[in-house]
Amino acid sequence: MLKIENLHVSYGGIQALRGISLEVPDGKIVTLIGANGAGKSTTLRTISGLVKASSGSIQWNGEELLGKPIDQIISAGIAMSPEGRRVFADMTVLENLRIGAYLRKDKAEIQKDLEWVYQLFPRLQERSWQLAGTLSGGEQQMLAVGRALMSRPRLMMLDEPSLGLAPLVVQDIFSIIREINRQGVTVLLVEQNANMALRCADLAYVLETGNITMSGSGQELLADERVKEAYLGKNS
């Protein structure tokens, strides 16, 4: 389980996170919703080690992650699919997946995981020799998720997986997120599409200007008047 306590992060004099605390229990889907600039991405980037925290703690199964280099955090079982997908456009799909397993040395197991990812995303298998830059947005998102899965994470962090995708593709992505979770991977999901995110989340947090202002099960927040007004549109 991932446990964040009183986490403060600032860059360039701006306080991006002002002491947030949250928990991601094993085997669950947890979502962070909030407006642009609320600190959602910063939270994920701090967990993954890309951003340094000024104070607080991030414990992963009782082990402190703050101050650890990124590769150790990945090896500890945390992977991230970054915002905007960021696939390596001039590498093939297969190379993109292989680079996701960069830190692993267990060749036979990597091969197994590759087959597993191809099973989850048959489309990627069809295109394994294609350059990633030639894939559609949805396929690139699948590749970004598949690439992160190749490190065999126990916690998968997804930053805005639905960004810029057609509604039908968004549904595909979300059903894959559920499928990954069903297979035992804990999911921490950051989304602007609050409606979709809350529907699939076991636990949800609302982030506003660097503070957590609300939390509860996905269903509770879906029904909450303030959430409806601010994030779901009044009529939904």
Partner: protein, 292 residues
């Protein structure tokens, strides 16, 4: 035709030497977007070390030592002068590179006393004269292009088919995402400096076999021309740097063959100006596409 042949062979040889230096520029640029102005001086230092080492110890120790010390120098330059500036504006990095270039030249001045150091013990075999199309030339002229091609093939294999090569390609495109894959960016950057310095050291050993002495400014011209070759080929691209280097080497020698020796350097820099005006990304340069 018979008269131009030796010039062509010379040109290919000079091109090979430029290529070995140009790869160092292009690799570092590909990853750090930095023109490593100190690279020509690293080349010069490799020449100096060769002069000292070959007089102090047997050849089989001296040559590996040249490679090791040069590689170490390249590694240290990055660690001391560029790594602390990782998140600084690119301009600071460039100024630091210029500073390193002058620092190396001045240190070399201090050590040599400003006197060109004669190459008294040239590398045997490759410095022997051979008969070629009726002209006498050193064997290094023939060895250089062959060795260059072999090293380039090895490098391309390393970059396309090994794990560290994959990491280098990933880091060259996107530092942050590469880090998210667990790639240690500093190790990858060090690796590019190690490879670049290694090739420059090989280039220096071949180059100075053909020259009577090494002076503190010996790195200037070949370094500059290799840089032009890298820009001409499209900086950041390895095939570009190699093709650019051979083209420039050949053109220079052909111009000399036609009797315009005085203009051969001018030609190279005129070529740079034309390339920058007509095709700023060079022959194989990446198109700069801004994502919407």
């Amino acid at each position: 035709m018979q008269e131009i042949l030796p010039y062509l062979i010379n040109g290919i040889s000079v091109g090979g030497q430029y290529a070995l230096i140009a790869i160092g520029y292009t690799l570092v640029y590909g990853i750090l977007r930095l023109i490593n102005f100190a690279h020509g001086d690293v080349f010069m230092v490799a020449g100096l070390i060769m002069v000292y080492a070959t007089t102090a110890m047997p050849m089989y120790l001296a040559l590996p030592l040249v490679l090791v010390v040069t590689v170490l120098l390249g590694f240290l330059i990055e660690r001391v002068a560029y790594k602390p500036l990782r998140s600084a504006p690119r301009m600071s990095l460039m100024i630091s590179a210029i500073g390193v270039s002058y620092l190396i030249q001045n240190l070399a001045f201090y050590i040599t006393g400003g006197v060109p150091q004669p190459v008294t013990n040239p590398i045997p075999w490759i410095s022997e004269n051979v008969e070629l199309f009726g002209q006498s030339t050193k064997r290094v002229t023939l060895v250089t292009p062959v060795l260059t091609i072999l090293l380039v093939v090895a490098l391309v294999y390393l970059i396309n088919h090994t794990k560290i090569g994959m990491a280098m390609r990933a880091a060259a495109k996107d530092f942050e995402t590469a880090q998210l894959m667990g790639i240690k960016i500093n190790a990858v950057i060090s690796m590019t400096f190690v490879i670049g310095s290694f090739l420059a050291a090989v280039g220096a050993m071949l180059y100075f076999t053909n020259y009577p002495s090494v002076s503190i400014t010996s790195g200037g011209m070949p370094g500059l021309k290799a840089f032009v070759a890298a820009v001409f080929g499209g900086i950041g691209s390895i095939p570009g740097a190699v093709v650019g280097a051979f083209v420039i080497g050949l053109c220079e020698e052909i111009i000399k063959g036609l009797g315009y020796t005085t203009f051969s350097d001018a030609f190279t820099f005129a070529l740079l100006i034309v390339v920058l005006c007509v095709r700023p990304t060079g022959l194989f340069g990446e198109k700069v596409t801004d994502k919407v």
